[in-house]
C-alpha cells in the first residue's frame, strides 16, 4: 500500500526526511518551494505539482500578511477542499506544502510537522544564506 516516494534533493539530511515521509502513509505529495513557486524539493505524484506551486506562491503572500495581524508568526494553514486537504507550512523564505486525500488522518500530518521542519532546517538556512549573499 505504501508508495515509493521519489526524492529530488541535495539536502544533507535527506535520509531522515525520507524516513518521516515514508511513515506518513496517507501523504500523497510533498513540495518545498521558494516564495516565487520555484520547486526545490518534491516527493510523490507530480501531476498536482503546477497547482501546488501556485498554492505555494499564494501562501507565501498570505503568511507574510498574516504575520502582520499581531497574532504572532503564522506557522501553517490547512485548506480543506472537496477531494483533498492541503497543509502549507511557513519555512520562510521557503514554503512546505503537503497534500492528502480529503478523509486522510490530518492529525498525523500535523503531528509530523515539527519533524519535517527540523529535517528541512538546513535547507531553509542554506537558502536564506544563499539569497542574502546574492541580493
Amino acid at each position: 500500500q505504501t508508495e515509493q516516494k521519489n526524492m529530488s534533493t541535495n539536502a544533507a539530511n535527506a535520509p531522515s526526511l525520507t524516513a518521516v515521509l515514508q511513515s506518513l502513509h496517507e501523504l500523497k505529495v510533498m513540495l518545498v518551494c521558494d516564495h516565487e513557486g520555484v520547486v526545490l524539493l518534491r516527493a510523490g505524484d507530480e501531476v498536482f505539482e503546477p497547482a501546488l506551486q501556485r498554492m505555494a506562491v499564494v501562501f507565501a503572500q498570505t503568511t507574510e500578511q498574516a504575520n502582520k495581524l499581531g497574532l504572532g508568526r503564522n506557522k501553517y494553514v490547512v485548506a480543506f477542499h472537496e477531494s483533498s486537504v492541503f497543509v502549507n507550512v511557513s519555512l520562510s523564505p521557503l514554503v512546505l506544502t503537503l497534500m492528502a486525500d480529503a478523509g486522510a488522518n490530518l492529525g498525523l500530518l500535523l503531528d509530523a510537522l515539527p519533524r519535517l521542519c527540523s529535517a528541512l532546517e538546513p535547507m531553509q538556512h542554506s537558502f536564506e544564506n544563499f539569497t542574502n549573499a546574492h541580493q
Partner: protein, 108 residues
C-alpha cells in the same frame, strides 16, 4: 478553505460543552492524568491534563484496532508502558483517549 492555527478543530457549541463535561468527569477518576477527544481526521476536539502532542496517533490506533477485530469500530485499545497506561475507544466517530498512571483501573 478554512485556516487553522492550532491542532484543534471546532465542534458545535453544545457538543463542545458536552465533550468538556465528559473530559472533566474522566479527569476526576482516580489515576487519570489526561483525557483527549479527537475526530476521525485526528484533529483534537478537547484535551485536558497531560496528553502528548500526538492526536493523529490517537485516531489512527482505533482505526487500526478495528481492522484487527473484524472491522468493529467499537474495539477498545489498551496500551501499557512503564510509566503510564492509555485506554482508547471510538464512538460515533470520536476517539476518546484516557491517560492513566500505571496500574490504574477504569470502571466506566
Amino acid at each position: 478553505a478554512r485556516s487553522s492555527h492550532s491542532h484543534c478543530s471546532l465542534p458545535p457549541p453544545n457538543m463542545a460543552a458536552s465533550l468538556a463535561t465528559v473530559c472533566e468527569e474522566a479527569m476526576g477518576k482516580p489515576g487519570v492524568v489526561g483525557v483527549a477527544c479527537v475526530d476521525e481526521q485526528g484533529l483534537c476536539l478537547s484535551v485536558q491534563g497531560d496528553v502528548p502532542e500526538a492526536h493523529g496517533s490517537i485516531a489512527a490506533l482505533t482505526t487500526h484496532a478495528a481492522l484487527l477485530c473484524g472491522s468493529d469500530l467499537k474495539a477498545v485499545v489498551s496500551i501499557m508502558c512503564a510509566d503510564r497506561k492509555v485506554l482508547l475507544s471510538r464512538s460515533e466517530g470520536i476517539t476518546t483517549a484516557i491517560f492513566m498512571q500505571p496500574g490504574g483501573a477504569i470502571h466506566s
